[in-house]
């Protein structure tokens, strides 16, 4: 699987502050990756280095195999939204997009197309200062989509959105990624992206503290999978043979310790055992996230 984004030993220092510390990760094509961490963890700085807006103190970052600023017309391959406020308040939403589309020789028809895509066509000629935060988020997204990119990089896109806006964004990103395109989305709230992302990168104090799927993440810190089956004894034995400890719960289910739903499902399938329910329990994702990013967790 080709890597769309790669960061190798990426570090950024501002005076005495090490904002990003030796960060190495890679993102595969066709995935939605959550880039998580508390405020000040170094997420935005990392994204800016990926996008050529900030120079790394050491290490390097590539997008589609090249540093961003060495790509030919990168706006046609990568769309990014870094702030919901990066608009001139006195310029209309449509003119904001036209100032960008002209740089890469896109016609005004494409501007109108993306405005419709983010449902801003009715407000297109209004000055941005009259836009709500949600409208600004969508205008930023429209700018990112102008070049019909293969990669979207979004920095805290759900900030300030109401629940309807969050759902709109989630559906939009799922739809975007369903065509094999890639999304990197940062957030300081795991719950905001938990239903959207395939995998997560978690950083704290500029260092990578976890890189996995959500299920793996839960399992790694003591997650429990509850499995209901009419053949509990056979399933318990099959799991034991795979080194997975189980306990019997009161409702005629097994609790498999320190594993994932996928692993339990695979073992049951291999053993020819029917499964009626398979649920991840134990530590909640939010607890795991808070545990990994609590003060001092990675210091």
């Amino acid at each position: 699987m080709p890597y769309v984004v790669q960061s190798e030993s990426l570090s950024k220092r501002y005076g005495d502050v090490l904002a990003v510390d030796d960060l190495t990760f890679a993102i595969e094509a066709g995935t939605i990756t959550g880039f998580l961490g508390p405020n000040g963890a170094g997420k935005s700085t990392t994204l800016r280095m990926l996008l050529g807006l900030a120079k790394p103190t050491s290490g390097h970052a590539t997008v589609f195999g090249c540093p961003y600023d060495q790509l030919e017309t990168p706006a046609l391959r990568i769309g990014a939204v870094l702030e919901a406020t990066d608009f001139h308040p006195g310029r209309s939403g449509r003119d904001h997009l036209r100032t960008l589309s002209r740089v890469v020789a896109l016609p005004d028809a494409r501007v109108d197309e993306v405005l419709s895509l983010v449902e801003l066509q009715d407000a297109a000629k209004r000055r941005v200062k009259g836009y709500s935060l949600g409208m600004r988020q969508r205008l930023g997204l429209a700018a990112a989509l102008l070049g019909d990119p293969d990669l979207l990089v979004l920095d805290e896109p759900a900030n300030g959105l109401d629940p309807e806006g969050v759902r709109w964004l989630r559906d939009f990103l799922r739809d975007f990624a369903s065509g094999g395109r890639t999304v990197l989305i940062s957030s300081h709230v795991l719950a905001e992206v938990a239903q959207t992302v395939d995998r997560v990168l978690i950083i704290n104090h500029g260092r990578l503290v976890a890189e996995s799927t959500l299920d793996e993440l839960t399992a790694r810190v003591g997650g429990v999978v509850r499995v209901q089956s009419p053949q509990l004894d056979q399933l318990a034995e099959a799991l034991r043979r795979e080194g997975i400890a189980t306990t019997r719960s009161n409702d005629h289910s097994l609790l498999a310790q320190g594993t994932t739903r996928e692993r339990v499902g695979d073992v049951a399938h291999a053993a020819g055992v029917a499964v009626h329910e398979l649920v991840t329990e134990g530590s909640s994702l939010e607890e795991v996230f808070l545990d990994l990013t609590s003060e001092g967790a990675s210091q």
Partner: protein, 243 residues
């Protein structure tokens, strides 16, 4: 060319530039009408008197420089520098495009500013019966010098905006330099002060002041100032993170 079209659209799509143009027109009209109407006849008879009076259009340079400053500082002030840099990651190209846009807008300011001052001023002088002693060469040097000088101030403004991204800081720096520092230096040390950009650009319009440089030398000096500031601006732009 695409990038230049984008920059020119940025200038046209907000009210800032319109506001600066309206300010320039109002100031040019007010000054020209008052001075040409109220100046005593004996102060209007020589070539230098008339050239000096009709050179007020060079005030367009201040407005062109402010418009140039806005080309960069507005991007930083409102955060549009991020999408701008993402769509145009080559900072040298970005800078060159903005400088070109600054020169274009400066030309427009220059044509409007000097065009108004010269046409209205000449009309009033003729109505008052002042004998016009300016030659065709004087008039050409005055008009071309004012317009080209204003265009160069547009470029200088862009460079200043790149050096000082803070909009208020850049505007105050420019105005303090142009209206206070240079006048003090020229007042006390004219042999040194005439090489400073405002007085060098004044000399591009002909014999409006005895202590100024000859016109061609003034042009060379203003171009040199624009180049030095542009090099400083592009160097800082390349070195700084976009934030």
């Amino acid at each position: 060319m695409n990038q230049l079209r984008a920059e020119l659209l940025k200038i046209r799509s907000t009210r800032t530039t319109i506001g600066l143009l309206v300010g320039l027109i109002a100031l040019a009209l007010l000054f020209t009408i008052l001075t040409c109407t109220l100046s005593p006849m004996p102060q209007l008879l020589t070539e230098q008197d008339q050239t000096s009076l009709l050179s007020f259009g060079s005030i367009a340079g201040v407005f062109a420089a402010l418009a140039g400053i806005m080309l960069f500082t507005s991007e930083y002030r409102f955060g549009t520098i991020w999408p701008t840099s993402l769509f145009n990651p080559n900072r040298v190209h970005l800078f060159a495009t903005k400088i070109t846009a600054g020169v274009f807008s400066g030309l427009v300011f220059g044509v409007i500013g000097e065009g108004l001052v010269f046409s209205i001023g000449m009309m009033i002088l003729k109505i008052r019966g002042v004998p016009i002693v300016m030659t065709g060469a004087n008039v050409t040097e005055l008009i071309v010098g004012a317009i080209v000088g204003t265009a160069l101030w547009g470029a200088i403004g862009v460079a200043v905006g790149a050096i000082v991204p803070n909009q208020v800081g850049a505007v105050i720096s420019l105005l303090a330099w142009g209206f206070v520092v240079e006048n003090l230096v020229f007042g006390f040390l004219p042999k040194f002060g005439r090489f400073l950009p405002v007085h060098a650009s004044d000399s591009m319009m002909g014999p409006i002041e005895d202590k100024l440089l000859p016109g061609n030398a003034g042009t060379v000096i203003v171009v040199a100032w624009a180049l030095v500031l542009a090099m400083a601006g592009v160097a800082l732009l390349k070195r700084r993170d976009v934030s």
